[in-house]
């Protein structure tokens, strides 16, 4: 029994959460440093995982751990990672320190707390963030459906408190109103995801029943089920399989979020602080798309192929719809939220294009979108914290007074519109190519999203950063050292992954190929090659 690396990766932030929460109220700074320390430790462990993982090795999962947990129901504590999981774990572990650093002062108790202002315990804020990290990591690792479901749902609790408990200082409207909106947003988030989760629970139980029925002893283990299906031991009827698939997919589509299940996201991201917004869209939502790849496709191959057309259309709608609404937003954060909806449309489209480019691209997209959104959103957060307003109209000419801030903001924006040379371009183009090679029409329509992305990003930049300097903005300070320390590495990463994504692709490709082989779909061959084959045949 070797060292349980994966468990450790999930356990460290969990312990960190407890430790941070235990710090006495007076020692706020200590709590912050503690949280940062633990998040960095997690990052180190994640790096170790990435190193110990051999991309080329046989078998779908590596570094596996397996212990019996609830024997009567065949629930096992099974962990294992494939390339996709490793990439996403790395992303999570990488982003959290920046989130913590960016939110350094977000949870400070307001000086002279008036009665209508709630006391905001710093410890709680950082502890919750770490808790979310732990749960996300373990749901990336879980290869037991039940285990995954457990943490997939449990994630909602800390997220709920993060959204509902901590907002921007003194929004454009008074603290009272923003607090109300905040709690509404939090409740909406919770209800949406719970609804999805419950439907998924039904599907999980259904799956268990099926296995218990046909394999003799029921199991939740992904590998076992996939194996059994491959061997024909486990025969789900077409109808059953489709129902189960829909049950799973619904939950993931809510989390992802896919049109028309998206309306919780803008509220949640708009009302919560920028770091929490990043946590939502860059980390938590990724679990949804990741689970589509790992569970929907591998557990229900036929059903996935069956549902593909509808899902592609929905994804397409998400892309265009999200982009158009982003253009129409007056609130910076909501704009980013709608942009994210558009991007998630791309990810889902890539996943269900069922080509190695599409799925590989989608996986890269998850990582890159995480980084780019983090960069854009965090800078936006810094901007908002300076002016105390989320409305685009309240800004103008920032570029003149705070060039560095404007520059980083622009880079984040360019990443969001996936400019070549920055990471998101690679993934977006892969997704487009992958989709195009199987569904040309879909691919072409999706390219409209590229133009719209340029539109909303540039409009945002023009209205906030350029033009004559607004009076309220005139005294705005430029980025501080801490903020720069947050943004600079992210931008560097964006550049690096844009120029040299090979490490990531090498990591992801085998996993994608395995998924495709499970689904039993293969890339379409180029015409010329096909023609050549035909000639060879003659």
């Amino acid at each position: 029994m070797s060292f349980p690396l994966l468990t450790a990766t999930a356990a460290v932030p969990a312990i960190g959460a407890i430790a941070t929460a235990a710090v006495p109220a007076a020692r706020r700074t200590a709590a912050k440093w503690l949280a940062l320390l633990f998040s960095l430790a997690t990052l180190v462990l994640a790096a170790v995982v990435a190193v110990r993982f051999e991309a080329g090795a046989k078998g779908p999962f590596q570094l596996t751990e397996s212990h019996s947990w609830i024997r009567d129901f065949g629930v096992r504590y099974e962990l294992g990672v494939d390339g996709i999981a490793v990439a996403l774990i790395a992303l999570t572990a990488l982003l959290i320190p920046f989130v913590i650093l960016a939110g350094w002062h977000d949870a400070d108790p307001l000086e002279a707390p008036a009665p209508n202002r709630r006391w905001r315990p710093t410890q709680g804020f950082f502890a919750l963030i770490l808790a979310v990290e732990a749960m996300v990591v373990i749901s990336f690792e879980a290869t037991d459906v039940f285990l995954f479901y457990l943490f997939f749902e449990a994630m909602l609790i800390p997220m709920y408190f993060l959204i509902g408990g901590f907002g921007d200082r003194a929004g454009a409207d008074g603290e009272e109103r923003s607090a109300k909106l905040r709690s509404q947003a939090a409740v909406k988030f919770l209800l949406y995801n719970l609804a999805g989760g419950l439907i998924m629970l039904a599907a999980v139980i259904g799956l268990y029943a099926a296995t218990a029925d046909q394999l003799g002893s029921g199991t939740f283990s992904l590998t076992e089920i996939v194996q059994a299906r491959a061997d024909g031991k486990l025969e789900l009827g077409t109808g059953t399989e489709r129902l189960l698939f829909l049950g799973f997919f619904f939950a993931f589509a809510v989390k992802a979020p896919l049109w028309p299940l998206h309306t919780w996201l803008p509220g949640a991201m708009g009302e919560s602080t920028a770091p929490v917004a990043v946590l939502i869209t860059a980390v938590v939502d990724k679990v949804g798309t990741f689970a589509m790849l790992r569970f929907c496709l591998q557990l229900f191959p036929e059903a996935s192929s069956w549902a593909t057309p509808v899902i592609l259309v929905l994804a397409l709608i998400s892309i265009l719809y999200g982009a158009l609404l982003a253009v129409g937003q007056r609130d910076i954060k909501r704009l980013v939220a709608y942009a994210s909806i558009s991007h998630f449309g791309f990810i889902i489209m890539g996943i269900f294009a069922m080509t190695s480019q599409g799925q590989g691209g989608a996986t890269l997209y998850m990582v890159n979108h995480g980084i780019s959104t983090a960069a854009l959103m965090l800078v936006a957060g810094f901007l908002i914290s300076r002016r105390g307003s989320r409305l685009i109209a309240d800004y103008g000419g920032v570029q003149k007074v705070a060039p560095v801030l404007a520059g980083t903001f622009l880079v984040g924006g360019l990443a969001t519109l996936s400019l070549p040379g920055l990471a998101p371009f690679v993934s977006e183009f892969l997704v487009l190519v992958g989709t195009f090679s199987r569904y040309p029409a879909v691919g072409i329509v999706a390219t409209v999203g590229i133009v719209l992305a340029a539109l909303y990003v540039l409009v945002l930049y023009q209205r906030t950063m350029t033009g004559p300097v607004k009076a309220e903005v005139r005294t705005m300070p430029d980025l501080k050292a801490r903020e720069l320390a947050v943004v600079a590495p992210l931008i560097a990463l964006l550049l690096f992954l844009g120029v040299y994504p090979k490490p990531l692709t090498d990591l992801v490709n085998p996993a994608v190929d395995h998924t495709l082989s499970v689904v039993d779909r293969h890339d379409p061959r180029p015409d010329v090659a096909v023609k050549a084959d035909a000639e060879a045949a003659k």
């Binding site: 253009v327 892969l430 190519v433 195009f436 692709t505 490709n509 061959r525 015409d527």
Partner: protein, 648 residues
């Protein structure tokens, strides 16, 4: 030797990184660093050129493979460079003209506190443009393609405090993005058709696939070219792009970037050769644009906008030539190079004029400047002669060849295209003469206070008209600005001649762009004479209108066509009505929809649930006995169920 290719790109890229991330401490040295790195890149290009010359024609292609960029399944994108005659030509043009304009900018941007950043952007542009022409596959080309778009966005909007500049920058990027979509779709098509998008395999295998596919790819490439090269219908951004500093207009929007479309089409010659329909589309676009641009150029009073129109029409010539296929490729590139010289020269001249006239751009506020800024006058004049195709100057050779090629297309098509080209030449002569006369000859209109004209909204009077008017003091520009102008003038005088000495240029390009000499229905000499004749006509007409009678300081209302031309032939108004306003309505409607319908449905469900629970909670009246009733009822139900289960 191959390993130097990457350095070509790396040098300016490093400069950009250094200047943009360097911070204020580089403010003093910034422009020198930028210029040096540009020159360094040029210095690298020269030995490579000699190297190529040293080899024999077949082996004049260098490859450098840096690393595998995006390997996913069958999708293999590499970061690899290919330097052949075509790329080499561009590299020399870009680095050469680029370096000159760097030098020019040192003087021009002297008083701008953000000069360091300006040079950073310029270097960034150089890097991207070099990447564009050096890439050995379409995806890497795409990177450069969007890179130059970014650079031009940053440079057009360099004076961001001016809303007009910011808007123009945004517009440029967006219109380009539309073109880029074309390019990306073309790449996807290549991938699905050939399984790769590297130049070698794709162009090699072009023959093996259906004509339909090739046409599709070709049209998509054309769309991309239209976006980048400001061809109809995506030309609207170029006029506004003149908001940028004049060196930018000279480098990006005259000499290099806007010609990327020509490069793309020439580079993809093999594909177009296989798709005649696509070629037809190209020539049509080219012909239309060259007339469109010329007409617009006649109407503009803003000197830079007039030149922009001319750029548009000159690129129209190139596209036309490129669309003609092997007859025209070489001449397209040749005209591109010569145009690079003289148009850059003209822009720099215009810039120097504005520099001396404290940033006045309205030609109606110029006049008789020749004795105040002689060097500018001479260089500008040489550029002028070159562009109108004065015999012996470079413009003459390149344009004449294109017109010949157009006729050589043969059939009515040939006649139409040739006619259009000739007409274009005439108009070119007309509006360039107009510019020349209004700027350097005639009375000195700038002495009187301006009267802001309602007819011409695009002209904002310079030095505040409030209070008493202090006329500008026209003066010659500093050495750093005049020297590049002189060099460019030299280029625009002799380049064409040099290239045409026993067709050196054509033979040089032949291995890349298969050249064949069409047989025009008329003899070459006849066409040449025709060209000269129409040129003289145009000049004469302009002299009659602007030389004889004094130019009104306020633009007259003008004919319908003139007014349309001033408004870019209403193309912007069309965009505004259809795209901007329509799009605005659409988004507003969607925001409403999202709030009321999509979200509303959810909230509605929630509300109904609330109502239901409100009704249910009345059962919870707190009286133990009614709870007891419910319990008993429940028990009864349970018993009933069990009984039913056991089948009563």
């Amino acid at each position: 030797m191959e390993n130097l290719i990457a350095l070509l790109v790396a040098a300016p890229l490093a400069g950009a990184a250094l200047l943009l991330c360097g911070g204020r401490r580089l403010d003093r040295a910034g422009h020198w660093i930028g210029t040096l790195l540009a020159l360094g890149s040029f210095a690298l290009a020269v030995p490579l050129f000699t190297e190529l010359l040293g080899r024999d024609a077949e082996h004049r292609t260098l490859h450098q493979h840096l690393f595998s960029w995006i390997p996913v399944g069958g999708f293999q994108a590499d970061v690899a460079f290919q330097l052949d005659q075509l790329s080499m030509t561009f590299v020399l043009l870009i680095t050469g003209v680029g370096s000159l304009i760097h030098i020019y900018s040192i003087g021009y941007m002297e008083h701008d506190e953000r000069r360091r950043r300006f040079f950073g952007y310029l270097n960034l542009f150089l890097a991207a443009m070099l990447l564009l022409v050096l890439a050995d596959n379409y995806l890497l080309l795409y990177v450069g393609w969007e890179g130059v778009g970014l650079a031009s966005y940053l440079l057009i909007g360099f004076w961001q405090h001016k809303p007009s500049a910011a808007t123009a920058a945004k517009k440029a990027f967006l219109v380009n993005r539309v073109g880029d979509v074309g390019l990306s779709i073309a790449i996807m098509l290549m991938f699905t058709t050939f399984g790769t998008f590297a130049f070698g395999p794709v162009l090699g295998a072009a023959g093996e696939t259906s004509e339909g596919k090739l046409t599709a790819i070709g049209v998509m490439l054309l769309l991309a070219a239209c976006g980048k090269s400001a061809q109809v219908p995506l030309q609207s951004w170029l006029g506004d792009a003149m908001e940028g500093p004049t060196p930018v207009s000279a480098l990006i929007h005259a000499a290099t970037m806007v010609t990327a479309g020509v490069y793309l089409i020439t580079r993809s010659g093999a594909i177009f050769n296989g798709a005649p329909d696509a070629q037809t589309a190209v020539v049509v676009v080219g012909a239309v644009t060259l007339l469109f641009g010329a007409i617009v150029g006649c109407a503009k009073d803003d000197i830079k906008k007039a030149l922009a129109g001319s750029t548009m029409s000159q690129i129209g010539y190139m596209i036309l030539a490129a669309g003609l296929g092997p007859i025209g490729y070489a001449f397209a590139i040749m005209h591109l190079v010569t145009h690079g010289f003289f148009k850059a020269g003209l822009f720099l001249g215009a810039g120097s004029v504005m520099h001396g006239m404290n940033d006045e751009v309205d030609m109606r506020r110029y006049g008789g400047l020749r004795k105040y800024m002689p060097v500018t006058f001479i260089t500008f004049g040489l550029g002028y002669l070159a562009i109108i195709g004065f015999p012996g100057l470079s413009g003459f050779f390149s344009k004449d060849k294109i017109i010949e090629a157009a006729f050589a297309k043969g059939g009515t098509e040939g006649w139409i295209l040739g006619g259009a080209a000739l007409l274009g030449a005439a108009i070119t002569a007309f509006y360039m003469t107009r510019v020349m006369l209004m700027t350097f000859f005639g009375e000195e209109r700038w002495r009187k206070a301006p009267t802001p004209s309602p007819a011409e909204p695009s002209v904002e009077p310079a030095a505040e008209t409030r209070g008493e008017y202090t006329p500008p003091h026209p003066h010659e520009s500093p050495r750093s600005m005049t020297i590049p102008m002189i060099l460019l003038a030299v280029g625009s005088v002799f380049a064409g001649g040099l290239f045409s000495i026993n067709e050196a240029f054509v033979t040089w390009l032949e291995p890349v762009t298969s050249v064949d000499h069409g047989h025009p229905p008329l003899s070459a000499s006849a066409i040449t004479t025709a060209t000269i004749v129409v040129m003289v006509l145009g000049v004469g007409l302009a002299c009659l209108q602007y030389g004889r009678k004094p130019v009104p300081a306020v633009a007259p209302r003008g004919s319908l066509l003139t007014r349309a031309a001033r408004r870019d032939l209403l193309q912007d108004d069309f965009n505004h009505v259809v795209l901007v306003r329509g799009g605005g309505e659409l988004t507003r409607a969607l925001v409403q929809l999202d709030h009321s319908v999509v979200d509303g449905a959810v909230n509605g469900t929630a509300a109904s649930m609330g109502g239901l629970s409100g009704r249910l909670r009345q059962a919870q009246n707190g009286f133990a006995r009614s709870y007891a009733v419910q319990m008993l009822g429940g028990a009864a139900v349970l018993i009933a169920v069990t009984l039913l289960m056991r089948g009563v």
